[in-house]
Assembly symmetry: C2
Homo-oligomer: 198 residues x 2
């Protein structure tokens, strides 16, 4: 298990860049940001703190078989682009909406991780009084940040007029908030929401 300092930085007893197999850190092996967030949301739900769910993956269903005496089987379907964000719900009476992204880059969050519909959706949510942000994980350092959607909207607009194709990590560190990581809950983003939005 990885140990985290209270500021959310992981305690690493060896360089994660090392490739010597005998020294690979197996902590959280295979745990994606999505899995950790799902467990976190389940924790919030079980402790009656918030009602936040990941939306199902949008799928275009083309063909379904209905075999006798067994469940309907989808035999042809395709992934569709999401027109909104992946997570939404309710916390302390407020509407919560966010998208989660991981990047292997050490220095930037590439904007290719998002698309127009999502950014438009986030703008709408903010203008209608919702709380909207992104959760970004830098997988190499294992740091996870919460960044209000307004900054994504700003960089998205810049990109469209020929600007950079990513948000520098330094900007995320500066304008965003490092999320504490632990065992329960794993990614305690409500702690940040309490501080920033209430």
């Amino acid at each position: 298990m990885t140990i985290f300092y209270p500021n959310g930085k992981p305690y690493l007893n060896h360089s994660p860049a090392k490739t010597d197999k005998s020294k690979v850190n197996f902590a959280n092996r295979g745990m994606t940001l999505e899995e950790d967030l799902n467990i976190t949301n389940q924790y919030y739900l079980d402790h009656d703190l918030a009602v936040i769910h990941k939306k199902p993956t949008p799928v275009q269903i083309v063909n379904v078989d209905y075999p006798k005496r067994s469940a309907a089987k989808i035999t042809e379907a395709y992934f569709r682009k999401a027109s909104t964000t992946d997570y939404n719900g309710l916390y302390r009476g407020r509407y919560i909406d966010f998208e989660a992204k991981e990047t292997r880059s050490k220095t930037v969050l590439p904007l290719k991780n998002f698309h127009d519909h999502q950014v438009e959706h986030m703008k709408k949510v903010k203008s209608h009084g919702g709380i909207c942000f992104i959760i970004v994980k830098f997988t190499v350092s294992r740091e996870i940040f919460l960044l209000d959607a307004e900054h994504l909207v700003e960089y998205w607009a810049k990109q469209k007029s020929g600007g950079e194709k990513s948000i520098p990590k330094a900007v995320i560190e500066n304008r965003g908030y490092l999320i504490s990581q632990g065992f329960m809950p794993r990614i305690d983003y409500l702690a940040i929401i309490n501080r920033v939005y209430f």
Copy 2:
């Protein structure tokens, strides 16, 4: 096109129970409640009135083919039970959450249209300060009602202790609100929300 009185009742120039083919009313043929709600939500979105979406159908993906030079194809998948409701979003700064059901019954809404997880979810939403309700369409009379989730929760609990397996239409008429139907928007449930929850 079906014409509706301002109170939401449809103007029917013949009995909808008649089976004489030459006199079948083709108005709205094939338009399900879900389709009408999707068009309504798109109208609300386009007019910047609310940000409310249907969640994708939850699917358990078992097998995916990745053919060269074309989109990933899901070749085996199954429908999963939804753990929440079908629709949620944001209106005038408030979290909105609802489930929509049609019934061919003229007298009741059978509770078999819902399941435990959904009712639990609705309870949670209400206790965290969200606006939560069901939209019920009686397909024979074409009437559509909005009923606050508290009444579903009440009948659900009654059923569990041996009570009736449905909500009488008379109760829905009495405690719920008839929704006006028109061309744009088709099912103007925000008009009811304005009146009841603000």
